[in-house]
Amino acid sequence: MTASSTQAPLLLEARALSFYRQDEPVFGPLDFRLREGEVALVEGDNGSGKTTLLRILAGLLHVDEGELLWRGERWQRDAHLGDIVFLAHHLGLKADLSARENLAIAAGLYGARDNMAADGVWVDIGLSGYEDEPVRRLSAGQKKRAALARLLLLPATLWLLDEPYANLDRVGIELVNRLLEQHAARGGGALVTSHGAVSFLGGEPRRIRMHA
């Protein structure tokens, strides 16, 4: 983003990362670096492996070829659980529970930032008044916001957001951007996929291009 952030310590580094499905290359070899306080936009056509990349970084998929470094050391799945929060296409919300209950469980499993009170989240996220409704009664955009509430509360350093702008209105898109800016200002890193042209942040983000 800004020139100063290039001096920030490295958070994540990929060297010649490749992934195969049934011996067909999905993407790669891919090289990129992500520093603390940096937000990178992962771009690519449908099927170029954006989601796959995020699933690998989250630790859900096995690295076939190449190297993945976390703060300069070999990335290991179990060592970095909790440092990473992954917002996937499936939002991980229980439809029968309310947004508040869903968030309480996420905080129970992942922990919460010390200075965050769960109650203040709903105003920030634009869901106040709906936090006690079962998630199944919320609209698609409201469900997305309920999932985004995790980002505010959980203490992760790296955010992996798969299509966070989908289903959101103009205010919602601004909300995601604001969350990302705050996260970057705290020294966190984020990888964001998007297939559409999104008016992104104030400045120009880092871009990682995916091609098969």
């Binding site: 909790g82 499936h90 939002l91 991980g92 919300l93 229980k94 529970l97 129970g108 922990g111």
Partner: protein, 228 residues
Amino acid sequence: MSHAPLGPACAALLRRDLTLAWRRRGDIAMPVLYALIVVTLFPFSLGPEDALLQRIAGGVVLVTVLLAMLLALDAMFRSDIEDGSLEQLVLAPQPLALMLGMKILAHWLTTALPLIVIAPLLAGMLHLPTAVMPVLLLALLLATPLLSLLGAILVALTAGTRRSGMLLALMLLPLCVPVVIFAAGAIAAAQQGLPWLAPIAWLGAALALALVLAPLACAAALRIALDA
């Protein structure tokens, strides 16, 4: 920054699964109804002869409970896979085996426990002698958690596939043969007035072993099945 401590994490997960089950209490009743229907069918097919029903009562109740559990087994992780909460659980900074153990416990509490509660009723319908009832309950209390634990491993293995309940039954059958043999053996022995402690002890030993190993195997299986 603080990571979540283990105890509250376990409690949160257990409470979530129990809350979810409670909000859909109708689903809890289904296996119970199924077991009632199956047991009712036996006198119709074999005739209402007391001596015959009495002889098969223990085995029938046991197999009925097993089938009812098999019916509910498929749902253990399904909704969690569909809405993505299983991924969130796998990525949480908690020991996965223990978290899955909590899910298995919740599943046992919501499916097997109601079946055990009505087991005396089922056995009574088939004229099982009252004296044998405690042995039946003891056998069920040991056999059903074993089935939940073994079943969880298999359900985890099929997590990455399109659903097929028949495959689950096929995979579970060889694993539940020893469980059925020992549980039914204990009931039969009690009914004949023979010592029944040995098979119960075997079941207990198997359960102790499964309590430790099955969640670990379940976590490993889930990692394999999700790696897609």
